[in-house]
């Protein structure tokens, strides 16, 4: 659990921005891992499995009718992070979902565009576009913050 707990938590924060949902998905992912019969070929394969399963679980939750109708826009998890980190994280989390996922996987998890494309089931060129536009948006947001300060 130690090896992947932070990765799963970061992806949950990236998608959900809600403490209760984050906790649910975090536990769900590790339960799936325990019950899974997947034979991992390497540590890298295992890490990719965690990333893919977490992203899918988050998307499933966001799509769920029940959640859309009942969950308030709680920002507890994000705020807890914001206080510690500040503008950069806030700017990444403010990006549209596709951009922030690509930015996170590329800059933090060090995946290349083709690897991200495989993980997310997208076209490689689409990932390049997402990275380029995400960077531009991020730069503009951070410059805007700097101007305002």
């Amino acid at each position: 659990m130690e090896a992947h707990a932070d990765t799963v938590k970061r992806l949950c924060v990236l998608y959900l921005k809600n403490h209760a949902d984050t906790e649910d998905i975090f536990q769900t992912v590790f339960l799936k891992y325990t019950l899974s019969s997947t034979a991992f070929e390497s540590a890298e394969h295992e890490r990719a499995w965690f990333i893919r399963v977490t992203i899918n679980a988050c998307k499933d939750l966001l799509r769920s009718f029940f959640r859309r109708r009942t969950v308030p826009l709680e920002q507890a998890a994000v705020q807890a992070v914001r206080e510690e980190d500040g503008a950069v994280l806030e700017a990444v989390l403010a990006l549209p979902e596709a951009y922030r996922t690509a930015i996170y996987l590329h800059y933090y998890e060090q995946y290349t565009a083709p690897e991200i494309a495989r993980l997310l089931g997208k076209n490689t060129n689409t990932v390049y576009t997402l990275l380029t536009r995400g960077r531009e948006r991020l730069r503009r947001a951070l410059e805007g913050n700097g101007d305002g300060a």
Binding site: M1, F30, Y107
Partner: protein, 262 residues
């Protein structure tokens, strides 16, 4: 920008409490899964055992119905009233057994099929004698089968049925005879006849019964010689206990009791 993003995300970490709660749930789930697997394995083992026991019970014979005209055929019946084995004796018996699909039918259906088969029907048309013997391994079932066969043969003049004690016909198969034919063969020997088992096997039931009647000094039974009429040396016991299983040897030295048709 890359370093700033990495630094920003490094501040996001799974809390120890979250990890501890998750670990607890994961361990619980794993324990539940192990329990379910153990229960599943146990249930599967029980099912297998039940199947084995049921299979063994199904394959255990509880009665044998020996149908003799010439051809001779034996139907082995289990406690579920199903035919689990069919044996033909001599060439014509084997041919008859091979021509009929009797396995796993109820004994009633199987007996009907045999009696209505072209080979047996032709024999009856010629006035041959149809003898059906029930070897009782399970007394209740034997009585039930005998009751059914008695009812079936009630309308046939040249037919008889009887219960036969297994002990008295135990060596029938060693001599290559069906239980029913062996019973008559033993009766002929007891009456002073000098017939070999091979000769008995080649004779029709009508011929054997005629020989027995001759040795006992009674009237000839319905047979291949055209005697017919449904009367035979065994007829004394025919009126009593239709469907009941009489004891061996009660019938004038015979090892069984006949219930005649007609």
């Amino acid at each position: 920008m890359e370093h700033e993003i990495v630094r920003a995300f490094q501040t996001v970490r799974a809390e120890e409490s979250l990890k501890a709660d998750t670990l607890e749930r994961v361990l619980e789930a794993a324990a539940r899964r192990r329990r379910r697997r153990r229960l599943g394995a146990l249930a599967a083992a029980c099912c297998c055992l039940a199947l084995v026991v049921l299979g063994a019970v199904y394959r255990t014979p509880t009665s044998v119905i020996s149908i003799d005209v010439n051809p001779s055929l034996e139907l082995t019946v289990n406690r579920f009233d199903r035919v689990i084995a069919v044996s033909g004796y001599q060439e014509d018996g084997e041919a008859l057994a091979a021509s009929l699909r009797l396995l796993h039918l109820s004994y009633a259906q199987a007996v009907d099929r045999v009696v209505e088969s072209p080979a047996v029907a032709a024999c009856l048309e010629r006035g041959e004698w149809l003898s059906i013997s029930v070897v009782e391994l399970d007394a209740d079932q034997g009585a039930e089968i005998l009751r059914y066969i008695s009812a079936c043969t009630a309308g046939t003049e040249n037919a008889s049925c009887r219960a036969v004690d297994q002990a008295s016909v135990a060596c029938a198969h060693d001599l290559g005879l069906s239980y029913g034919k062996y019973q008559t063969y033993v009766e002929i020997q007891a009456a002073g006849g000098s017939l070999t088992a091979q000769e008995a096997g080649e004779m029709t039931m009508g011929q054997l019964r005629a020989l027995l009647a001759e040795l006992e000094g009674g009237p000839a039974a319905g047979n291949g010689q055209g005697a017919g009429g449904g009367q035979s040396a065994d007829s004394q016991g025919s009126a009593s206990g239709q469907g009941s299983i009489p004891q061996t040897g009660q019938n004038g030295g015979h090892h069984g009791q006949d219930h005649h048709g007609g």
